[in-house]
Amino acid sequence: MAKKVAFLQGNEAAAQGALYAGCTFFGGYPITPSTEVAEVLSIELPKIGGKFIQMEDEIGAMASVIGASLTGAKVLTATSGPGLSLKQELIGYACIAETPVVIVNVMRGGPSTGMPTGPSQSDVMCAKWGTHGDHPAICLVPASVQELFEETVRAFNLAEKYRTPVMVMPDEIVAHMRERIVFPEPGEMEVINRTAPSVSPAEYKPYDTKFGDVPPLAAFGSDYRFHVTGLNKAEDGFPTTKAALVQAEEERQVRKVEANVDDIVTFEEYELADAEVVVVAYGSTSRSARFAVNEARKQGIKAGLFRIKTFWPFPDKQIAAIAGKAKAIITPEMNLGMCTQEVQRCAQGKASVSGIFRVDGEPINPGQILEKIKEVK
């Protein structure tokens, strides 16, 4: 039987991806250019007995999804830059309380209100450093409508697997473009559910490290009663200020992600085998970059593309390997050099790194990238 095919907008695909992954709760607050995610789910969730709630503000939206997640639901919220800023307080809460939540953040211009309908890639640092304290960060940066669907499914899987918030961050172009999408059949894509406790309710501890770095999570309203707090906590979930415990817990929370980078980090390599000039790009910019690389190859320049699909954790070792082989790296991005700094950090001076930065609400076009490739070759 032929697979279901549709012509969808990116945001609509994100909503469909959430449903495929088993999302049953959406709490949000309207903000351009992410609103279609909420609109689609307000229609689709009640059809399957799921819940949609439009909260009073972004902070309330984030709080509602954490509360719902603790009852065992798979949860989603969607926002954009200024909303992400407001959500940061409780993204930190979800990190320390180790509650799975998925956040679709459509990147628009900034800081502050910026350009509500202008594309941008300037929230990538906010995804890692926005909330205070040390914490894990997982952030996916899809480049097409199909990928926005698939990466949203993967975001749910990672959130449930590692008990942590996961962000899906399309730029406005990817979120608002319409493309052909082929829906996977049920069961075709992996769907991961959080690990339920194997011990009796009396023995259950929500952060019991004897089950590894990601302890099983029970649900409120089941047979298990437990305490959740935003304070530094011991394995039973109750606050502690014992130095050794706090240190160990913080390290474990970060380690959940850092020790599993190979499971989490995804990327695409294109024409890299003999590339002397490598374009490192993500989101819609990577599509212009692919076009530019093809043009450069036609003109006899050995160009290649490394497409970042998982921005956090950053693909450190892959970039370091490229820097060890290529002469020059070009990082086009719709901000003033956020990814470029990371690439420079990984390259450690082994290859020249130069950026193309646009923050004027216009996409970076292939011509600009091609010009830069010729300049550095």
Partner: protein
Amino acid sequence: MSFDYDKYIRPGKLPHIWCPGCGHGIVMKGLIRAIDTLGLEKNNTAIVSGIGCASRLPGYLDFCTLHTAHGRAAAFATGVKMAKPEMNVILVGGDGDGTAIGGNHFIHACRRNIDMTYIIMNNNIYGMTGGQFSPCTPTGAKASTTVYGNPDPAFDVAKLAIGAGATFVARGTAYHATQIDKLIVEAVQHKGFSVVEILDDCPTTYGRRNKFKSVIEMMNRLKDVAVPVKAAEKMTAEQLEGKILTGVLYKEERPNYTDEYAKVIERAKK
């Protein structure tokens, strides 16, 4: 026979953090008695709080307990209740947590009339951070950030709740300890968003700055200012000057949020 509070206290979690003379312990005992009267199932009851002295209360109780971020209790609790409407959800917190940083979540929980009970322990001050003034600190009172006297007008929590759409609003005091559980019982039984404001005292950061010589003196103030709503009906405006009404102040029947959303699901499935 004395009441067995231990049945509801988490083993090993006492002593509590509250100062001698604090009213929060009286409220906690009232809440426990109310839960016992109502026969709420431990596994099916979530107690949610924000930040501050009062917000430590859930940790002492053997239920599904959630100590959230400053002011966010109502929003977290809304998520819990929406996702699992069959759960009993009770919120506890202080006046600063609920009406300042949490003001927006509070008024919207009232407006939605979501079926939860919010117990606001109003001691007129930010206790845990050292006695800064709150939206409920009386005008002219001393706080660590109003040493010249508080210039701000104070919120009337009950009026705020009624104005925002809460369908059950009651007020009690920590002095009138036996009334607390009765008000909470009625609030939890009410189908919709219920608010129970309980006036209590912070001798440590409010009393000593505002010339209360002792805890007893603060308690006596609560006794003196409280007037039951029934008794108030027979009193003149002059007699009511400076008094605070206690008891069930407001009650109405209005569709509640999760029941209404269940209808949305029914319509969507057609």
